[in-house]
């Protein structure tokens, strides 16, 4: 297992380099530069001389291959460069926004798991019932509802009309401000988890070993706990891992709506402003997060199911 983990960690290096190359090529060919973005609202007249100096200062007037070589050399030294906009190290810029992103992602996934997995179980235990049909309608709705619209709905209901929760902002980073954005973000993975759990449990319920366990006189509770749950968890966990990684990237709409200071809104702002070092840094951070989470999920799966062996 240890060698497998080490191997997986080493595999992240070429993946990250490939992602870095892809982002670099993309932003080399799309039009617009940081300097031109500073005057995009027509409000602050941009000085031609300042633009020229900026391009020189940020190395944007170097040939593409020189810029890429410099970037790779920096990456090798774990240096993500400096933000064009704030002129701070990219690592610091990302660090400041990483914790709120993790908070939101964890909270959203926790909501999705705590509600979605039991919902999927219950639906599977009573197939064709009202509970089953209701939970699947909820699941489909969750996957279909736009996060922006859902977020606004939550704001109107829980903040404006009921006055239970604040409608926006990070506040003191506590639970009250986290609930609404976490629910808005978590509904979609909740729906997917409910459906996945239901399908996994239904599949396992008809397996021979479950029939054998029942015929041996095992109680239903024990069958659910020892056989159904444990075997379904491998599939569910894999889905959790995939969702977890993508949630941090999907959070941008929710972050912008709720003024939540996460990586997603930073990424979108930086793309609009062509703050390329920050864009590269954010994407690399998200990809790294995705890879690490999935590695953890794979390890957990191996722990839950001893039949899984990684070599």
């Amino acid at each position: 297992m240890l060698s497998y983990i080490i191997r997986r960690l080493l595999q992240t290096i070429p993946i990250l380099l490939a992602v870095a190359l892809l982002i670099f090529v993309m932003f080399s060919v799309i039009p617009g530069t940081f300097a031109s973005s500073m005057g995009d609202d027509g409000r602050g007249l941009l000085d031609a001389e300042v633009i020229e100096r900026m391009n020189r200062e940020f190395g944007l007037d170097d040939p593409v291959h020189i810029r890429f070589a410099k970037y790779v050399w920096q990456l090798v030294q774990f240096d993500l460069g400096h933000s064009f906009r704030s002129r701070q190290p990219v690592s610091q810029v990302i660090y400041e926004r990483m914790w709120p992103s993790l908070q939101l992602s964890f909270a959203a996934m926790l909501f999705a798991i705590v509600v979605g997995v039991p919902l999927g179980f219950v639906a599977a235990m009573k197939p064709g019932s009202i509970i089953d049909m209701g939970s699947m309608v909820l699941a489909v709705s969750g996957l279909s509802l736009p996060k922006f619209w859902l977020g606004l709905l939550l704001m109107y209901l829980f903040a404006l009309h009921l006055g239970w929760l604040p409608s926006f902002g990070y506040g003191d980073g506590g639970l009250r401000h986290l609930i609404l954005p976490a629910v808005a973000l978590g509904v979609s993975p909740l729906a997917l988890l409910a459906r996945t759990t239901r399908a996994a449990v239904l599949d396992i319920m008809n397996a021979d070993f479950v029939r054998t366990a029942r015929s041996k006189g095992m109680s239903e509770a024990r069958v659910i706990r020892w056989h159904l749950t444990r075997n379904a968890m491998v599939i569910v966990l894999t889905t959790v891992g995939l969702q977890f990684g993508s949630v941090i990237g999907q959070a941008v709409v929710v972050e912008k709506l709720f003024a939540w200071p996460g990586l997603g809104s930073l990424l979108v702002d930086s793309v609009s402003l062509r703050d390329i070092p920050v864009v590269q840094g954010c994407i690399l951070a998200i990809v790294l997060f995705f890879l690490v989470v999935n590695l953890l999920v794979d390890v957990l799966c191996a722990i839950i199911d001893p039949r899984i062996k990684y070599t």
Partner: protein, 528 residues
């Protein structure tokens, strides 16, 4: 001289009448920064975005402020200004009661340090374009000198500033990104994350992407101000979210978009607390003279006649704009009240096109962004109007950053944009001087020797009335030549809670307020 009330000031009279109550001390002002989901950085010299001006007015001060009532820059950190007969040498006596948040008194050294810092060419600070007004600044920028020769310390509280041209320095040095920094900033720990300034509030905390908080600076030089104990500047780029938060009483002000403007006007409780200001931004369609049809002023005039601008303003922009007559907006001192906008007259448009040699019309590409007030939606509304006079349009959709680039490079046939058109009418109209490159702001490469002569004369005269008259003539010339399709001037609308008093009708940008003049009464949820 009797100053004409701007439309903005007239609209705000009611607000001021209410604000005649005695200001109350205390509470927290919860202001919003609506132009994005972050600030660029806490070094205000490194940015030129309005979003950063919003927070800088809380923590910092500039040599001049913008007086919204008089609609002109006024000395702020300067106690007294005298101008020599040459019209370019300014002697500025600084106020002696201005203290930085770390306790040190402001002196001439701080002003000289600040402007020299801004001119560090290696940093490419955007406000360099303002400081270039001072003689010798360019040499510092190019690394040819270490000091700005035109900026001299007379004594600890007096500086002499020699300008390169007869321009009012107030129009340059009221911008937030020319804020005066302490000369000893390198010795102040964590200055880049906890800035020290001269503003009415001292820094408390900054959560990137969320908010900046300041607390009253007890040594602020305006006695009794600021009124509130704290200020929270909340970063809220989404209009829908601001709407909910405002209705919920969680924020004290909200800049409205067209959709919210209509909604708020129709609700009695909200309609009473709207401040509307004609800002200094002109929405326009620029036409590239290198594209043959647009080289003929008759074609440009025809386009102005062919488009029913009033209808578009009413239906699409929801009356959140004023019809443009020429380039200079309503709040400009050189705005011409007598100038009528181009009439919607498609017959006249067809006549002009025929005269210009396009009786069957022509087609062109129109570059536009997704902006709801001056973007693709507007272009799509114009398409059928131009089609009725035989002009076919192909839309080229682009991002904001790309629009700026293609326009400056001249890589367009036509574009639609919102461009700053003030506050200094001379500086504004210089964009159309033939010596101004396209990459600067002469995007349509206007070249008219008579226009140039008017501007040169306006710049040379010290007589304010004569200058204004010359600028009005120049503005009229832009109208006659139809340099652009004159669409509208932005109407900025800010909703404010009934417990908020002292909001200023700032025509340069309504979201920029001088917070020391704002107070909240006891009905605010954040009154204590």
């Amino acid at each position: 001289m009797i100053r004409k009330l701007t439309l903005a000031a007239a609209m705000s009279l009611a607000a001021f009448a209410v604000a005649a109550q005695e200001p109350r001390q205390g509470g927290t002002l919860r202001f919003t920064a609506p132009y994005g989901s972050s600030f660029a950085s806490l070094d205000v010299h490194s940015t030129n975005r309005i979003q950063d001006d919003i927070w800088s007015k809380a923590l910092h001060r500039t040599l001049y402020n913008w007086d919204s009532a008089a609609n002109e820059p006024v000395p702020e950190l300067i106690e007294e200004v005298t101008v020599a007969d040459d019209g370019v040498t300014y002697t500025m006596k600084l106020r002696q009661d201005a203290y930085f948040h770390h306790g040190r008194q402001m002196t001439a050294d701080d002003v000289i340090f600040t402007f020299t810092r801004i001119m560090d060419g290696a940093q490419a600070y955007p406000p360099a374009r303002h400081v270039r007004l001072i003689e010798g600044a360019v040499a510092v920028e190019r690394g040819e000198a270490e000091e700005i020769s035109g900026l001299r310390k007379i004594d600890d509280f007096t500086i002499e500033m020699v300008l390169v041209d007869r321009l009012d320095p107030g129009f340059s040095f009221y911008h937030g990104n020319t804020s005066i920094y302490p000369a000893d900033m390198a010795e102040i720990p964590n200055f880049d994350t906890a800035p020290v300034g001269l503003g009415p509030y001292r820094f408390v905390e900054y959560i990137p992407g969320s908010r900046l908080v300041g607390e009253r600076w007890e040594q602020f030089y305006k006695e009794g101000k600021p009124y509130t104990d704290r200020i929270e500047i909340l970063i809220m780029g989404e209009a829908a979210a601001r709407d909910v938060a405002f209705r919920n009483g969680e924020i004290d002000v909200s800049v409205l978009g067209p959709v919210q403007y209509v909604a708020y006007q129709n609700e009695a409780a909200l309609a009473d607390n709207l401040l509307e200001v004609a800002e200094i931004f002109t929405r326009n369609m620029g036409m590239n003279p290198n594209f043959e049809p647009f080289s003929d002023p008759r074609v440009r005039q025809a386009i102005n006649h062919a488009i029913n601008s009033d209808l578009i303003i009413e239906r699409l922009v929801r009356n959140k704009a004023f019809r443009a007559t020429s380039w200079l907006p309503i709040g400009s001192p050189a705005y011409d009240d007598d100038l009528e906008p181009y009439a919607f007259d498609q017959d006249r448009a067809r006549e002009l096109l025929a005269e210009a040699g396009y009786p069957d019309g022509f087609s062109f590409e129109w570059t536009a962004t997704a902006n709801e007030s001056w973007g693709i939606a507007i272009v799509e509304a114009v398409l059928p109007m131009l089609a009725q006079v035989g002009i076919e349009v192909n839309i080229v959709p682009v991002e904001g950053a790309v629009l700026s680039e293609v326009v400056r490079a001249g890589d367009f046939q036509a574009y639609i944009w919102s461009n700053t058109s003030g506050p200094d009418p001379l500086q504004t109209l210089k964009c159309y001087h033939s010596s101004t490159p396209q990459s600067a702001c002469n995007y349509v490469q206007y070249n008219n020797p008579e226009f140039d002569a008017l501007l040169d004369a306006a710049g040379a005269t010290a007589d304010t009335d004569e200058r204004i008259d010359l600028l009005k003539q120049a503005n009229r010339m832009l109208y006659d030549d139809a340099v652009v399709w004159f669409f509208n001037y932005n109407k900025a609308v800010m909703a404010y809670q009934p417990w908020v008093h002292g909001i200023q009708p700032n025509a340069t940008e309504l979201a920029i307020q001088y917070y020391e003049d704002i107070w909240i009464d006891e009905t605010s949820p954040a009154a204590n």
